[in-house]
Symmetry: C2
């Protein structure tokens, strides 16, 4: 960040009065620009015991498989965002969304929220950000070609929990690099 969003003058990194960390502050109008973690919302869409996966058509991790997920947008709820992403990436409609897994990824200031849900009618397609999509049983999932650790962990846990039918909400941290001491 180099310029103020309000007046267009330069910003500098400094600790504002009463604050305890550096922010981008405008040298002219003194506007403080806050940046905060972003939320990625996604689904675990299930039909007859199989999970809907998409093969990514875009970087990062092009050609690898993922659960439908993406950045939450302003003006929507987390389940609305998760359902929207499932439509955009896999042309699937979902219902009965239940919060399932949350992942903190502090190294990149992201929080993932995955909802379990029913894939209505078992119907799906291929959205513009996907190369293909499909319903996979535990044995059929391409475990060596999963795009992201949060997706791998969510799928692994899902099939463990599916054996008991009990799906507790869990929060976990994914470390992408050594944390600050």
């Amino acid at each position: 960040m180099k310029f103020c969003t309000s007046c267009g003058n330069s910003v500098v990194l400094q600790i504002p009065a009463g604050d305890d960390r550096e922010r981008f502050v405008c040298i002219s109008c003194e506007l403080i620009h806050y940046t905060n973690p972003r939320i990625i919302v996604g689904c675990v869409p299930v039909y007859e015991g199989k999970v809907l996966l998409c093969k990514r058509a875009i970087e990062p991790r092009k050609n690898y498989w993922t659960l439908p997920a993406g950045f939450m947008e302003n003006g929507e709820t987390t389940p609305e965002g998760a359902a929207r992403e499932t439509w955009e990436e896999a042309r699937g409609r979902v219902s009965n969304l239940e919060l399932y897994r949350i992942f903190d990824v502090p190294s990149i200031s992201q929080v993932y929220m995955f909802y379990r849900c029913d894939l209505d009618g078992g119907q799906f397609g291929v959205g513009p950000e996907s190369l293909e999509s499909g319903l996979y049983s535990q044995d059929e999932i391409p475990w060596d070609e999963i795009a992201f650790p949060v997706v791998y962990q969510t799928l692994k846990q899902y099939f463990i929990d599916a054996q008991t039918g009990h799906f507790p909400v869990q929060v976990a941290t994914v470390e992408r690099r050594p944390r600050r001491p």
Copy 2:
């Protein structure tokens, strides 16, 4: 938003190619500026059946009572942020954090995440954003002077769940104005 954060030229609202909603796009360098919902993390700090509340020293809702909570910062996890806010606002250290309530507030693009936790040693103080703080039983809570609906709902549910000792994670939406159809 009026100016590009990267080059300082003007931005306009337009729908970028391949997108489906308006973003602020720079007329010069074409940088797309995304804005996304923000996360508020907070705690329900408990000691001997009582909950730690703070009276707000700042707007909005100055002089009303709240659970310690605030904007999640980059580089931290959601429980780390919730614990940090409890220190900043009420000088309390907490442990055994368990995710409890999530609230979507789409009208202002916020997501609240509250963690139940133990208030270590029952000790607390008053941070710079608070006028006072204290431990309150259900009967002692100033129910008519609670700052925010999400805090009121979290406290109400906490004392209901405390009767059984079973604290399921729940997601709810708080509507601040009529939603778009």
